[in-house]
């Protein structure tokens, strides 16, 4: 039993390590695909790692007016996102600690990271920081409820709010095609785009004042602080891609009881699916234009409406009504 416990513990550690390891690569794939589709050479796939290493080596310039909150926020944001990412079933569903937080807590953990980032954006007292925080929170008021409704829908379908339980349900019934699941998928994709500051909600490669959201918030960060924020952003991308994979394409994922062999297979399947998802994101990003900030509520609002319809249908299909 103790041997098993050690293996379980190592598996959980491996999960935390792998999500961190693959995150810059996933972002590299997105950028590479985008560049190629625009007939550019593009940066090497490993550029994400180099960027992080470069930022870590550089000195951090902190604004004179910055408080302790500004300096401590990056590591907390990174830690919160990392823990959230570690909770998502990736290569195996029944890891040691993913009972600790269920889907509701997962949404809230990401909410905590976002609130900290928005606060850090306002700490120096510049106009750009404020613009970013304000817009980020506006988008969040639409995306977060949609996300919450999506996870509640999934929890109703699976009969549990535990992530592992939800994943097991979708492994067991991969063809559980229901209207509410299709609506949830659409809504989750929109939420994922919004939360990861992707086109059409935000553009991760531009610093154009009038449109930027996420980049405006982190404008004052540099050096190792910026490296942590960037890494947290990459982790978040992996988190959402893994969530989509685990819910809607769970084939290949090892069930809770699988041994090391099953895990290796699951890891391979997950890596392939993750990078495939990143490539799809690249294709999506070149095929659509960025939206004006005040058209975003319509776009993210669609996610909210879809998510609401999905949960309504889920309620309709469950339980007997007199």
């Amino acid at each position: 039993m103790t041997g098993n416990l050690v293996v379980q513990f190592l598996a959980q550690g491996a999960q935390m390590f792998f999500v961190l390891l693959i995150a810059p690569l996933a972002v590299g794939v997105v950028r590479r695909v985008k560049a190629r589709l625009m007939r550019r050479q593009g940066a090497p796939l490993l550029q994400g790692y180099r960027d992080l290493a470069k930022l870590l080596r550089k000195e951090s310039v902190v604004a004179e007016n910055a408080s302790w909150l500004f300096r401590s926020a990056p590591s907390l944001i990174f830690a919160l996102t990392w823990v959230a990412a570690a909770l998502i079933p990736t290569f195996a569903s029944g890891l040691m600690y993913n009972w600790a937080a269920d889907v509701v807590a997962l949404v809230a953990l990401l909410g905590a990271a976002r609130a900290l980032l928005a606060l850090a954006g306002m700490d120096v007292g510049t106009s750009f920081g404020g613009i970013g925080s304000s817009r980020e929170m506006m988008i969040a008021t639409l995306a977060e409820p949609a996300m919450m409704l999506i996870v509640l829908t999934l929890a109703i379908a699976a009969g549990t709010t535990r992530l592992a339980g939800v994943a097991d349900f979708f492994i067991a019934e991969p063809l559980a095609v229901r209207v509410s699941m299709a609506l949830s998928l659409l809504a989750l994709v929109i939420v994922a785009l919004a939360e990861n500051a992707r086109i059409p909600v935000d553009n991760p490669v531009t610093h154009l004042e009038l449109t930027m959201v996420h980049e405006a918030m982190v404008l004052e960060y540099s050096g190792r602080h910026l490296a942590l924020i960037e890494a947290a952003g990459m982790l978040k991308l992996v988190l959402y891609l893994s969530l989509l994979i685990c819910l809607f394409a769970p084939f290949g994922m090892a069930p809770a009881t699988a041994g090391v062999d099953g895990w290796a297979l699951g890891l391979l399947a997950w890596t392939v699916k993750l990078l495939g998802g990143a490539a799809l994101l690249g294709v999506w990003e070149v095929s659509i234009a960025k939206m004006r900030v005040f058209r975003l509520p319509d776009f993210v609002g669609i996610a909210f409406v879809f998510a609401f319809l999905a949960i309504l249908l889920a309620f309709l299909s469950r339980g007997a009504i007199e």
Partner: protein
Amino acid sequence: MPELYVSGAALGALAVAAAVATLVRGPALAFVYPLSALAALALGAVDLHVLLGGGELVAWLPIGLPTIGVHLRLDSLSAFFGIVINGGILAASIYGIGFDRAKELTPRVEPLFPLFAAAMNLVLIADDAYAFLFSWELMSLTSWALVVARHTDPESRRASYLYLIMAAIGTSALLFAFGGLAGPAGGYGFDTIRAHPPQSLVAALVLAAALVGCGSKGGLIPLHAWLPLAHPAAPSHVSALMSGVMTKVAVYGFVRIAFDLLGPPSWWWALPPIVLGAVTAVLGLLYAVLDRDLKRVLAYSTIENIGVIFVALGLALAFRANGQHEGAAVAMAAALLHVLNHSWFKSLLFLGAGAVLHATGRRDLDGLGGLIHRMPRTAAFFLVGALAASALPPLNGFVSEWLLFQAVIAGQTLPQAALHFAAPAIGAMLALAAALAAACFVRVYGTAFLGRPRSVEAARAHDVPLAQQIAMGGLAILCILGGLLGSVLAAVIAPVLRVLVGADLSSAGSGPTPLSLVAFDPARSIYDAPVIALFVAIASITTLFVVHRLSARRTRRGPAWDCGFPDPSPATQYTASSFAQPLRRVYGAVVFAARETVVMPPPGDNRPAQFSVVLTDYVWRALYAAPGRAVLKLSERLNALQFLSIRRYLVLMFAALVILLSIAAVMI
């Protein structure tokens, strides 16, 4: 029974303190706060003893109505709310100890403070309708007098006037409710009522009256209009009591009537509290996110939290009516824990707002800024409160939010179509409210404590005295502990749950660790805050360690970057109004018919451009302004009756007599 004597002595001490405080002046008034703190400590200890040890305290006093007297009883429900209330009183009293004896004590506040504290305690232990209504009214009047303490300020006068009207309406509704409960036989003791609960139609009327009476005190929309005016108008430690604690007395009143006195519920009783609560939760925050006054934002956020509590209570009623005791226990645990959690973080936030007000003399968010540098401790405590109020893990606000979402999911098993479909709608409203709360508190904290000071006063601020820091720090620690030890709190309130809904969180303690919070079944839902907090801590420490090993550790201070053009004027920062602008465009256009107008001078003209926003408060217009105008118009018409000749008066009297007699003749 020594507990009885302790309670009696503490309440007596509060009354004597109030009486003595009316006689003394100046610095001597300061004795009120240590005494109130001791009394609250004693009362809270008795409450805790009763809650943990079981049993109840009963007393009969031969005062009040002749031959009936006053029945008092402290059961587990009263004891739980007593802990909530005395915790708030203790914090507010400790905060009061820090007041400047020379300047900040006034004979308008200090004598009423202990009386207000005692009145709230009395409401909880009242065991007959007379005692309940008397103490309820005492609580209303003392708090009204505290609101009007700054009567030189026209805002305060207006707030207290509105409060007085709403309190009167609320109490008359409660009077009606107890009349219905007592029935034609007129048994006003709670045990008599419990033995003979009213029939269905009367029960419905009682429920409606209770919702009006308690809802108006708690701030349920549309009965809320007085609350955001009155709570901020009082001195800050009283605001903390009113918002953090007195609203909980209102919740207690509703719970006592709906779950205890009214007998077994029908399923549709659940609908009014659920619908009103959900609307209140969302609208309260929309008001909050657009307001620019620090204390008023907090008051609106109180309205939101009361809405959340009423949603949970409504769900508990629905589950109980359908015999689903587990679901009822989860929903009721969510309601009670939110009562406790909200009292902690809202008291903390109001005390923090008081500290800001004391340090800067301002409560308009657009005049603050940068206080994290000048008031570091207050800023740290306020941050804990703000994050807890945003329902973010691992703080306490999230625990009750989590339980509530579990109850919403369980709504799929409710058999009635109305409730079955209400559940996902509530889920959507609550999720929206949670997201808006985060936006609201990021805005409040970001403009008041972060950034650069926007006024001279904010630039010269200083941290508050030690006693006030202790009061805030204690509450901040409670917010953190309450978040980590939610499962322990759920176990502590188990006896209350058993009394109210006939079950507790049956699977408590069956989770993977002893501190896991389990809803329904460990296979179904677990939230383990300590494990998550441990993971986040390990992850942060690992990160810090690795980054420090890998990176250049140099940190340089330099001017802000701001895309290369930092402007030295603090006026270029985002303000609370500009932060709210996107939210105003998204939500305000629908809910408040927000209109923005920009007047640009023609080219060549060097007048400044003007920007104005008009918001319409439909609730105020339809339910307050219109009846107010009608009353004025009617009284203007009736005014003519004051200036008639004696002949006319005699005719009127004769006519009235004839009409009454003919009515009597027809009736008999």
